[in-house]
Assembly symmetry: C2
Homo-oligomer: 173 residues x 2
Amino acid sequence: MERLIVDMDDVMADATGQFIDYYEREFGIRVDRESLNHQDEGHGFPDHQHIIKQFPHRPSFFRTMKRHENSYEVMRELNARYDLFIVSAAMEFPRSLSEKLEWLQEHFSFLTWKQIVFCGSKTVVHGDYMIDDMPYNLEKFNGEKFIFTAPHNLHHNHFTRLNNWNEVAVRFL
Amino acid sequence: MERLIVDMDDVMADATGQFIDYYEREFGIRVDRESLNHQDEGHGFPDHQHIIKQFPHRPSFFRTMKRHENSYEVMRELNARYDLFIVSAAMEFPRSLSEKLEWLQEHFSFLTWKQIVFCGSKTVVHGDYMIDDMPYNLEKFNGEKFIFTAPHNLHHNHFTRLNNWNEVAVRFL
């Protein structure tokens, strides 16, 4: 079985949507998702950059993210056809470790703990395919690389692009 | 730089000693470490097997382990000479995630979060060398394999054996 490595934030989980929701709750302004395009993560918001950086350290930030549309259905099929691993760079945010594990158990209950990897740097994992929203994660990967579209990576064109989970299904199923 | 992957339980941390301490606290019997030799992890204790299995689920079990003798000094030198990663199969015990991270920050404060990996299966990591006490972790590793001596692995002779951290230093420094 070929090994497929899938990222969590802004791939399985709508991290961008969570930043927008937290920003609105804190500052009363609903930022348009498209206004974040082509800007680094967290940099597209009009103000309060230093506070936005604190959002991932807050309780429930990772636990309450929404699932990306169709990710559940596609992942369930991928799980049957691939040696599937979830690899998330969670170590920077200690609180996220247990929250991400609980999130996966709730939203992707067909996955087992053996398929989950929380790391700092993804350079240590290897496989046949990697789907990630961060170019620096893909750059050092040994296998075939796919960038999952998020506002902060629209200007990157080094990797095969997958715009949504329907495109993941078309490519991998 | 060559990549060296090091395990936590019964390599950096004295997991066996923790089982012995918990057993004594619970049942009033101090089990001799040598009496555990050649038996699977947790199986060498005279009684209460079902309760021993619960120890790793208890608060503080992973947080309060002792460091293996000389591990700090040798790891600090290894850290300067190798692309060093700590890879621990922590995902089976959700509580261990934050406890292991805190333990590393306390006992090996020179390590950064980028060097830490918590996984279920270690098949997904690759490197040049792996030091681990569990044969099943070593078996599927792509690089050179070293078994770190623990009571439960004394009967294995498939891998180069390192009996203690002084032997790690001799081999790698």
